[in-house]
């Protein structure tokens, strides 16, 4: 139960030419669920291992609550971590696995037992408690690994590194809900690493977007979707991401054109269609309409630029052919040289 504070933290692996993590300052507020979101190789795992003490930083400091823990190893930091690859001790039963982190910290047997059973119930493992862990499928193993991460009540933070990769997609939603419920109970700071923006937006109170070893933006899911800090975040978040077109927002309207230094971003949900013979908006050409059930994705072209629009189900979608499009200027974002213009 502590705030995580990273000061001028950076890491370069021995023998590597480039920084895996460039110098950054970041504060992860106490008691919240934070998602670290970014493409593969952007430094998420590195950042997590620096927080847990599995790696020592090339420079900078890690603070947990009031304490500078940079010099401490993982044992002393009081941080729980679960890995992408499900780790289970096959020499022990499921119960033995869940109690293992507690036993190593001298928790009395009665307390161990109660906590193991409690966390097993949360993760739907109670029927397996006294079973051997040999031969269990990957998603059950990962639930056991998650159980070992959530069983300790004294932790400053729980760090989860893409924990649902090994889990069957159909079971992910339920497991995410159990994670949220478990988090409410232990109320510790939880850091959830993922490269899947849907997962990040679904689970987190706050999302940290990373790219190429840098923190690009930190904010609530709504802030990231409505006010992306740069074109990378604009393109990366949302499904699909923002449309980025040369132009800007002038006098409450989106105007296209210009030298390309200025770019205007519009969410697919904020693109509207008008009749081709009207005067509203700009001329466009609808190429394809994809029916996703709850919405239609309209793939259109303005000149040589592609534009995607999302039309919710009951509204009519245009048919392929000429039309005009308008943009919700109040929700559009203007970027100059890739950065959001204030």
């Amino acid at each position: 139960m502590a705030e995580i504070e990273l000061r001028d933290l950076a890491h370069r692996y021995a023998g590597a030419a480039d920084w895996a993590l460039r110098p950054l300052d970041l504060t992860l507020a106490d008691g919240e669920i934070h998602a670290l979101l970014g493409p593969s190789g952007c430094g998420k795992t590195t950042l997590l291992n620096l927080v847990s003490g599995l790696l020592s930083p090339t420079r900078g400091a890690v603070r947990l609550g009031d304490a500078d823990v940079t010099a401490l190893g993982p044992r002393e930091r009081g941080v729980a971590q679960v890995f992408q690859f499900p780790v289970v001790y096959e020499t022990m039963t499921v119960r033995g696995n869940l109690e293992f982190p507690l036993r190593n910290r001298g928790v009395p047997a009665a307390v161990r037992r109660r906590r193991a059973e409690d966390v097993a119930a949360r993760l739907d493992l109670d029927a397996l408690l006294d079973r051997s862990t040999r031969g269990l499928p990957a998603d059950v193993r990962q639930r056991i690994a998650l159980g070992r991460g959530l069983v300790r009540e004294d932790v400053a933070a729980v760090l989860l590194d893409e924990p649902l990769t090994a889990v069957d997609p159909a079971a992910r939603g339920a497991l995410r809900d159990s994670l949220r419920a478990a988090h409410r109970r232990i109320a510790s700071t939880l850091v959830y690493v993922t490269h899947d923006q849907g997962e990040a937006l679904a689970i987190a109170d706050r999302v940290v977007v990373m790219d190429h070893g840098r923190v690009v933006q930190q904010g609530t899911p709504r802030e990231l979707l409505t006010r992306p800090a740069d074109v990378f975040v604009a393109r990366f978040l949302g499904s699909p991401g923002m449309n980025l077109l040369p132009g800007g927002v002038e006098a409450g309207a989106v105007r296209l054109g210009g030298d390309g230094r200025r770019v205007v971003g519009v969410r697919p949900e904020d693109v509207r269609f008008a009749p081709a013979d009207g005067a509203e908006g700009v001329a466009a050409d609808v190429e394809e309409v994809v029916d996703e059930g709850h919405r239609r994705l309209v793939l259109a072209r303005i000149g040589d630029r592609r534009v995607v629009a999302a039309v919710p189900d009951p509204e009519p979608a245009p048919s392929p052919g000429a039309c005009r499009v308008t943009f919700d200027a109040a929700r559009a974002v203007e970027f100059v040289d890739g950065e959001a213009a204030s």
Binding site: N49, S52, L54, G73, P74, R75, V79, A80, Q81, F83, Q84, F85, V87, Y89, E90, T91, M92, F100, P101, N104, R105, R134, G135, A145, R148
Partner: protein, 291 residues
């Protein structure tokens, strides 16, 4: 079920293997079987004697004594080399420049021919000129492997440990390198001690390589011949005369081909049966899991 055309002619492709195995294993083995049931008085005068040689071999006190020594030797070899080899593997660096160097240095004894190993240790252990013998004397030990059976045993064992522990180490080292990194990370996060990491992370993953190491070291030590023959000549007395040497003495020295053949077969069956028992016992759990 698919309706594939059947064509059994492909069985002919197995023929070369069958021929090779016949010449390398079956034909020599049948020759020995042939000898074991006949009394060969001269090249063209043979008498069928049935189980006679087997009965004789099984009752021979000299063979009994050699068998006892052999069991003791193999047991000592396994008890020393497996833990020692495993311990060395745990101490070896897993990566970096030092990893390659320590591997190469360790593998060196494995490359020395067996008779050279015997000769080297024979000179090394000599109390008059050998480095080891002189050192033992300097330490105040009354060391002389040519006179004292305990010293002779200690020397033969030390030689085998020097020669073959690296094999156990290399096998265990390969097994350790195959332990996925996240297991160590998770154990560190869970607050596991070094012993717990060994017990719950490393040892379970070393089971199959250690089974192989145990089988190899058992079979090999049970059939040891060259090194003690060169080092001690089986002495003092018969103190370090193991089964192979006894057998050779019987067959070549006394030219008792019948009893020697019968004894060879018993020997062969012992190695086969013991290896099978070890293997079955050690892999039983895995097979039960795999059901």
């Amino acid at each position: 079920m698919s309706e594939r055309p059947r064509d059994d002619r492909s069985w002919w492709l197995v023929l070369p293997v069958v021929l090779a195995v016949s010449f390398s294993a079956i034909v020599p083995l049948m020759t020995v079987v042939n000898y074991s049931v006949q009394d060969i008085l001269s090249p063209d005068q043979r008498v069928f004697v049935g189980w006679e040689w087997f009965r004789k071999a099984l009752r021979d006190p000299e063979l009994h004594a050699a068998f006892g020594r052999q069991l003791g030797f193999s047991a000592a070899v396994l008890l020393i080399e497996l833990p020692f080899g495993l311990g060395l593997a745990l101490l070896m660096p897993r990566r970096g420049a030092l990893a390659g160097f320590s591997m190469a240095a360790l593998a060196l004894p494995l490359l020395v021919p067996w008779n050279v190993v015997g000769t080297v240790w024979q000179v090394f252990s000599r109390p008059d000129i050998g480095l080891g013998g002189r050192a033992a004397r300097a330490l105040g030990l009354d060391y002389d492997p040519t006179l004292d059976p305990v010293d002779a045993w200690a020397t033969v064992l030390a030689m085998d440990v020097w020669h073959w522990t690296p094999l156990v180490t290399l096998l265990a080292y390969a097994g350790l390198k195959a332990v996925p990194e996240p297991f160590y990370r998770a154990a560190a996060i869970d607050g596991a001690s070094r012993w717990q990491v060994f017990r719950h992370v490393e040892l379970p993953r070393l089971k199959s390589v250690l089974t192989i190491a145990l089988l190899l070291r058992f079979m090999d030590s049970f059939m040891i011949y060259t090194e003690p023959f060169v080092l001690t000549g089986g002495g003092p007395g018969n103190a370090t005369t193991f089964l192979s040497q006894t057998l050779t003495r019987l067959a070549v020295g006394q030219f008792d081909l019948g009893p020697a053949a019968a004894f060879s077969l018993i020997y062969f069956l012992i190695v086969l049966a013991t290896s099978h028992v070890f293997y079955t016992a050690l892999t039983r759990r895995e097979r039960e899991e795999g059901r």
